[in-house]
């Protein structure tokens, strides 16, 4: 009976109770999503994007207030500390993700100009993805992990297939969906076995079990491995990467951006969180597998990217390669390498969004998404070309851009933890990487381009500028993010 009261009263309580830290950011975000739908009904499409950005700003603020929060997770008067757990990791990553979402929304205003009638749906879904992301950065229970992953994934299936009349989009959606569902099944099996072994879904207990008797229980180990595989699928690591190039290529460009940036980093955060808490105890057991996967990922990602002609596909493979680098942080989990992950994620997000902010208008005007679309951009639009160049350089990891310090940071952490050989491999791989990033630059500056006028709207320009500016800033003054965690 009493829970019924709570149930009725939770909205107000939950919404007003400032002490519920993570939970209230979650609620606000969800509310924002609802608001989108409401505005559709109230037919205020024009205001939608500004309102969302405003809301995100608020949420960002709220989130940042949690930085020095006490570990108290009241939700509807009930203690939810067995479900979520906020810490600096959560707040930092949430901040990053909200920032990224802000950029994405800014771009989506012009990207979805022609599809106004679906705008609210897209916006709402993206906001919900952000919700899922927040869940994933703060879960302390496998249920939450599962739900978070599913929220993000299912929303992405929808967005990937959202161009209904475009068979490529359909294909991307279905492929992503089938493989994603398959991966979720594997994840569930893993979770189940873990549960069977430990008798609980709560991360702390699992962690305790792993530390104490994890290595003795085969069931737990198998469960852990399956879970890890599922997460490797989500972050597109070899050999679970096959979905990403096709899906990236087929999806609408903005969705590709979303997947490549926000979602990828989200899953990495979740992965890191799981490995560093729940499965910490069996790190030696999983690391052997992860080393192999990491090596394979870096090699495959970089090599295959060499032969790509489609820009989105290229970035997909580069994303795989970067996943390989980021896996290094998960390897070197012993020394708290989450800071490295955060920094690298930030630099990666900035560079990729910057690149897409240039690419979207180009694609729109030229109508094809291959690298040739950029031909002659250097002469037509030096500003855009410069921005794209800097983003590419950042991705290639060339100072003074953030990408370089990110790489350096990750390599340093990995070596610190004694993964010398694999780091050396990473270094070699990143040499290869330079080549395909420069293919884009060369296309802009050396190939003669047709005279299709490219006109980036103000918002795109702003996004480019912001991304590049932040890349440079982080590259020159990394103190803000480095060693934050």
């Amino acid at each position: 009976m009493e829970f019924a009261n709570d149930f009725l009263s939770f909205n107000f309580l939950g919404a007003l109770n400032i002490k519920d830290n993570i939970v209230n950011t979650l609620i606000y975000t969800a509310a924002l999503g609802m608001l989108c739908l409401a505005m559709e009904i109230l037919n205020l499409r024009k205001l939608m994007i500004p309102v969302i950005l405003l809301g995100l700003a608020v949420i960002f603020g709220v989130n940042m207030m949690n930085w020095s929060a006490i570990d108290l997770f009241i939700f509807a008067g009930l203690d939810m500390s067995s479900m979520v757990h906020t810490d600096h990791f959560t707040v930092a990553f949430n901040g990053l993700l909200i920032f990224a979402a802000g950029l994405l929304f800014t771009m989506s205003h012009d990207f979805y100009r022609d599809e106004q009638h679906h705008l609210s749906d897209y916006m709402a879904i993206i906001v919900f993805i952000l919700c899922g992301a927040m869940v994933l950065t703060s879960f302390s229970n496998l249920v939450m992990l599962f739900l978070g992953i599913e929220i993000v994934s299912i929303s992405l299936y929808i967005l990937a297939g959202s161009r209904k009349h475009d068979t490529r989009s359909n294909e991307a959606g279905l492929k992503y969906f089938l493989m994603g569902a398959f991966a979720s099944a594997i994840l569930l099996f893993g979770i189940t076995l873990t549960y069977g072994a430990t008798g609980s879904f709560e991360i702390p207990e699992i962690g305790a079990f792993a530390a104490s008797s994890g290595m003795e229980s085969p069931m737990f180990l198998v469960g852990a491995l399956l879970t890890v595989f599922a997460l490797l699928f989500k972050v597109a690591a070899v050999p679970f990467h096959f979905w990403s190039p096709d899906v990236y290529e087929g999806s609408p460009s903005l969705v590709t951006t979303l997947m490549a940036t926000l979602v990828k980093i989200t899953f990495f955060a979740a992965f890191y969180r799981l490995m560093s808490t729940g499965f910490m105890g069996i790190h030696d057991y999983t690391s052997d597998i992860l080393v192999i996967v990491t090596a394979a990922t870096m090699i495959v990602g970089n090599l295959v990217a060499l032969r790509q002609i489609n820009f989105k596909r290229l970035l997909a493979y580069s994303g795989i390669a970067h996943a390989g680098y980021m896996l290094l942080t998960i390897l070197s989990i012993n020394s708290n390498s989450s800071a490295a992950l955060l920094f690298y994620g930030a630099s990666y997000i900035l560079a990729t969004i910057g690149a897409f902010a240039v690419a979207l208008p180009v694609f729109k005007s030229s109508g094809n998404e291959s690298i040739e679309a950029f031909n002659g951009l250097g002469r037509k639009k030096p500003f855009m070309a410069g921005m794209l160049t800097l983003s590419m350089l950042s991705l290639a990891g060339i100072p003074p851009l953030a990408g370089f310090l990110g790489k350096y940071y990750i390599f340093s952490e990995a070596i610190k933890n004694g993964y010398v050989a694999i780091t050396f491999l990473a270094v070699l791989a990143s040499i290869v990487g330079v080549y395909y990033y420069f293919k884009v630059i060369l296309a802009m500056y050396t190939k003669p381009g047709d005279e299709t006028a490219v006109q980036p709207t103000l918002l795109y320009s702003i996004v480019m500028l912001v991304c590049v500016a932040f890349s440079l800033l982080l590259g020159v003054w990394p103190g803000g993010l480095m060693g934050l965690l």
Binding site: E171, A181, L188, G199, E249
Partner: protein, 106 residues
């Protein structure tokens, strides 16, 4: 009651659901019809559910069973989305065969 019940060891459930799971996997690999593939995935999920229930009732804490609810929720949602995708694809291609979806490659 107890004695008789003792006769169904938990391992058997483990075995059974693992087998079902792999059957589902095989189905996913095996079939070209997206609907069937989806159903096979459902089968995998159900094997998981069964195992969860088994664990929960053998170990005597109900978390597992609660989890099963969530799995059902997600399964339902997934099916809804998946079938919606299928429908829209069928509208374009007139087929639900996944092997004809290979425009995106290399």
């Amino acid at each position: 009651m107890e004695q008789t019940a003792q006769l169904v060891p938990l391992n058997w459930y483990l075995l059974l659901s693992t087998f079902l799971f792999c059957t589902g996997v095989m189905g996913v690999l095996f079939r070209r019809n997206a609907i069937i593939v989806l159903m096979c995935i459902e089968l995998m999920l159900n094997s998981v559910n069964m195992l969860l229930v088994a664990f929960s009732s053998y170990s005597g804490n109900s978390d597992g069973q609660v989890f099963v609810f969530f799995i059902m929720v997600v399964a339902a949602a997934e099916v809804a989305v998946g079938l919606a995708l299928l429908v829209s694809i069928y509208r374009n291609l007139g087929s639900t065969d996944i092997d004809i979806l290979n425009k995106l490659k290399w």
